[in-house]
Amino acid sequence: MALTTVDHSALKVNQAGIIVTVLVAFVGSYFYRPLLVLIPLLAVVLLLGTFAPRLALFKQIYFKVLKPRGIVKPRPVQDRPEPHNFAQGLGGVFLAISSVFLLPLPVIGLALALLVAVLAFVNLAFGYCLGCQIYFQLGKRGLIRA
């Protein structure tokens, strides 16, 4: 278990980005249905960011805009990046499933997207990362190399 420095502010910006995007899609779709396209787009952003961190949109906004301008202060913590990446990927997978449901069963699709936003909020506000816990549990059972 190699500890490295993880900037938790980047994680927080990522979580805030997820919450805002889902909320805009959720509320906005009431007035303008095509806004639901934000959910599959967010799924793509999260999945891309998981496998290629340079393509993680919200983290890049933090590193290239918010941090250099001092809008968000960095918070480096001795931590492992893998559980957070896993959690982000899991969010992406759930949003992808949600996107599949959006056309035939929009209630299920939106509910799944809302749950991803709720979990991102719980992580942002209380520091509880369900995806990280799932990562540790899978690692303990030997299902992934944690």
Binding site: M1, P106, V107, I108, L110, L114, L115, V118, F136, K140
Partner: protein
């Protein structure tokens, strides 16, 4: 009813079910803590997760705990008490958990925690207990 409201209701039910499950898990963990530790506390105390092969526990953590003075330290074998270790997500030894007198985990330190840090956390736990006491008597 609009799709948005229905989706909100579905998500709400799932969140409520998860919250209920978490409350159940917490109360179960509290019972586990009570079963493993040496009974009810009147002061904040420390749950100290350790293991037979933990060298840092012996060389660093235990001397640090000894520096704390008269504080109750409940030693827990993380391997034997797996359920309790899981509850606090103990994947690193040593792990120290600073508990309030009411049995609420206030701080969890993964890895070696120096005496100064534990002292500060215990002071916070005492303050938290005092605040709760005042709220109860008000």
């Amino acid at each position: 009813m609009s799709i948005q409201l229905l989706a909100l209701a579905v998500a709400g039910i799932v969140v409520l079910a998860a919250a209920g499950l978490e409350v159940y898990r917490s109360s179960r963990a509290r019972r586990l803590v009570a079963g493993v530790t040496s009974g009810a506390a009147t002061e904040p105390y420390i749950l100290y997760f350790t293991g037979e092969n933990c060298t840092v526990c012996r060389t660093h953590q235990e001397p640090a705990l000894a520096k704390l003075g008269p504080v109750r330290v409940d030693k827990v074998d993380a391997i034997a008490e797996r359920e309790l270790a899981d509850r606090f997500q103990v994947y690193t030894l040593p792990t120290t958990v600073v508990m309030t007198a009411e049995g609420r985990a206030l701080h969890v330190n993964y890895g070696y925690a120096p005496a100064q840090k534990l002292d500060r956390q215990l002071a916070e736990a005492r303050n938290a207990s005092l605040t709760m006491e005042r709220t109860a008597t008000a």
